[in-house]
């Protein structure tokens, strides 16, 4: 527990050579009225710093479950979970929340921006409860970096889907996480906008941040360094592992 606290507390200052986040023989079962559902079945999975991994698989195969377990939103039934080499398998809620704040960024299919807050405030959201004097400046910088320098004080309903997703990406990055986890990040976007968002993910990877994106979208796999497939909670069918990093779209995709 106390070691786990330390893990949560140090927010990526030190370099760790192994995977940013890693699951070893992780099993996740859901108890429901109809019986036990095995959503993840002995999954071994790791992401290197700066690596972009796409997770594909049919509906119900456990992709979201995998992200939740990776993102410390849910606790594995058995197995080991490591964040920068430290065991974070069974932290309590408070320590998990702190670890999420420090090391993990989330991007969702439905963006999940708070409609009553401006773009900048949405990006600041993870830092809001706590003393963080530079957060606003960081938020504005990040929004400029994702090309929203002229939308800083707009509310979500004044933004397009792609712009919203870029705000969400900026929000995921505001605490300089070790890994960004994205569930269907292009699911609500047309292919051009999706490509822009994926460009953004590539740029994130260049700064040493790991990205895991769960998707149905073949476009995502084009941008990823590596694609793994989940079928019925089992990880396998890994194609094009360690192939050289593709550059499918030129920079002109930027707006």
């Amino acid at each position: 527990m106390s070691e786990a606290e330390t893990v949560a507390a140090d927010s990526g200052g030190e370099r760790f050579d192994g995977p940013t986040i890693e699951l070893r023989r992780v099993r996740k079962e859901y108890e429901s009225g109809a019986g036990t559902v095995v959503a993840l079945d002995d999954v071994d999975f790791g992401v290197q710093p700066g690596e972009f991994v796409a997770v594909v698989g049919p509906s119900g195969s456990g992709k979201s479950t995998l992200l939740n377990v990776l993102g410390l939103l849910d606790t594995p039934t058995s197995g080991l979970r490591l964040l920068r080499g430290r065991d974070v398998t069974s932290l309590d809620d408070e320590a998990r929340t702190r670890a999420r704040k420090d090391a993990i960024g989330f991007v969702f299919q439905d963006f999940f921006l708070i409609p009553s807050l401006t773009a900048t405030e949405n990006v600041e959201l993870p830092t809001l409860f706590g003393d963080d004097p530079t957060a606003t400046d960081r938020a504005r910088d990040l929004l400029r970096r994702v090309g929203l320098g002229d939308r800083l004080d707009h509310t979500p309903n004044q933004l397009s889907g792609g712009q919203k997703q870029r705000v969400a990406i900026a929000r995921a990055l505001v605490n300089e996480p070790a890994v960004v986890l994205a569930d269907e990040p292009t699911g609500n976007l047309d292919s051009d906008t999706g490509a822009q968002v994926l460009e953004e993910f590539r740029r994130i990877c260049e700064t040493g941040v790991s990205v895991v994106a769960v998707t149905h979208d073949p476009l995502v796999t084009e941008y990823a360094d590596r694609t793994v497939e989940l079928v019925d909670g089992r990880l396998g069918g890994v194609d094009d592992r360690h192939r050289s990093r593709p550059r499918p779209r030129p920079r002109e995709a930027d707006e």
């Binding site: 939740n68 939103l73 849910d74 929340t97 999420r100 704040k101 439905d110 963080d132 509310t155």
Partner: protein, 388 residues
């Protein structure tokens, strides 16, 4: 664009009070619903505060006009027991019981037609040798020992058009007017305004009709009344010992009851307000389930979510309560302005207390109503909330 200027003008999130500002923004999101929820509190607080103050004011006004009635005891024969007048033994008992505790004034009472210089009118007659403890002169003087002449009540004097030095005729006897009595304020056992006070010899000498005792204090009055009741009503209820303090007590009880009833009404409306806030909070947290999940996912602690949601509920209570309290104060002053209620009974600490208590209740009710929905929303596991 117009919208941009509006947004530029809005205050930045104050990082020192994130919960408050988040809560405020959340409430502003659905203004109508927030307003309706707060309206319940407005009405509840208004009801409790206004009814509380109203009860106080009524009670204070009543006790004010009843004045020092609490020290008076009236002893009269009980006609139901066949007793028509008080005997001299009764009078002895009375003067023994009152010794050192107050003065007892025996009275004859009657009604008669009083004739003045031009007109005549009906009036109450009081007969006493010792009118000073009971009556006060407006003009003229009241004799220490009343042997001749008449003291005329103010209304009778006006109707008959007589003044000090004039003459009135009662039952064929003419009396010189020694004094015109001062108008009575409030309620008293003898009502002087419509009365004529005559010497004892004007009445048939078969016994007094009542004795008015003016005690030194409320306790003395109670004491005297109790003593007389045991001494004079040994076997039968020969005399009626009437203690005005008792009425005061009964009036007090009545107002306490009225107050309780009014406050109960207010409390019910607050309860309803609480239920409506409960409902609104449940609805709005259910709608924001995903958002709250995201808050938790990006690293906001459960307690901070809980605090934000509780602040939302508390803000509804604070705003609703403040509006209710202000409305109540305005209403009370309108009441003061429109009715003969005196400012002195409005500006008492108890009234301020009633308003504050009502306000406090409003806030507490909102907080309590928000407790469960906030706890429920904050405790939901983020993975569940995000699954939608």
């Amino acid at each position: 664009m117009n919208l941009d200027t509006r947004l530029d003008g809005r205050p930045r999130l104050d990082r020192r009070f994130p919960a408050t500002l988040m809560a405020w923004r959340n409430l502003s999101r659905n203004r109508l619903r927030s307003t309706l929820a707060a309206l319940g509190i407005v009405i509840g607080v208004f009801a409790i505060a206004t009814l509380g103050v109203f009860g106080n004011v009524l009670q204070l006004s009543a006790t004010d006009s009843l004045g020092d009635l609490g020290t008076q005891v009236v002893v009269s024969p009980n006609p139901e027991a066949g007793v028509e007048t008080l005997t001299s033994r009764d009078l002895q008992e009375i003067s023994r019981a009152t010794a050192g505790k107050g003065t007892a004034v025996p009275l004859y009472t009657d009604r008669a037609v009083v004739t003045g210089p031009g007109t005549r009118t009906g009036a109450s007659l009081y007969g006493t040798a010792d009118p000073r403890p009971l009556f006060e002169a407006d003009r003229g003087t009241i004799p220490a020992s009343h042997r001749q002449g008449a003291l005329v009540g103010s209304e009778v004097a006006t109707r008959l058009g007589v003044g000090v030095g004039g003459v009135v005729e009662v039952d064929g006897t003419r009396y010189r007017v020694l004094a015109v009595l001062a108008e009575s304020e409030g309620i008293s056992p003898v009502s002087p305004d419509n009365a004529v006070v005559l010497p004892e010899r004007a009445f048939g000498a078969d016994g007094y009709d009542q004795v008015v005792i003016e005690a030194r204090s409320g306790e003395a009055a109670t004491d005297v009344a109790r003593t007389l009741d045991t001494r004079l009503n040994v076997r039968t209820e020969r005399v009626v010992v009437f203690e005005f303090g008792r009425i005061l007590e009964q009036i007090g009880e009545f107002f306490a009851l009225l107050n309780g009833f009014l406050l109960g009404l207010g409390a019910v409306s607050l309860l309803v307000a609480g239920v409506s806030i409960f409902n609104v909070m449940l609805m709005s947290t259910a709608e924001r389930r995903g958002e709250i999940g995201v808050l938790r996912a990006v690293g906001v602690q459960k307690r901070d979510v809980l605090r934000t949601l509780l602040v939302e509920a508390a803000l509804l209570g604070l705003v609703g309560g403040a509006v209710g309290a202000v409305l109540s104060v305005l209403t009370v002053f309108a009441l003061w302005w429109a009715t003969p209620i005196e400012l002195a009974v409005v500006l008492v600490a108890r009234n301020a207390g009633a308003v504050l208590v009502a306000f406090g209740f409003g806030v507490v009710v909102s907080l309590l109503s928000g407790l469960y929905p906030a706890w429920k929303a904050a405790s939901e596991r983020p993975a569940e909330a995000l699954r939608g």
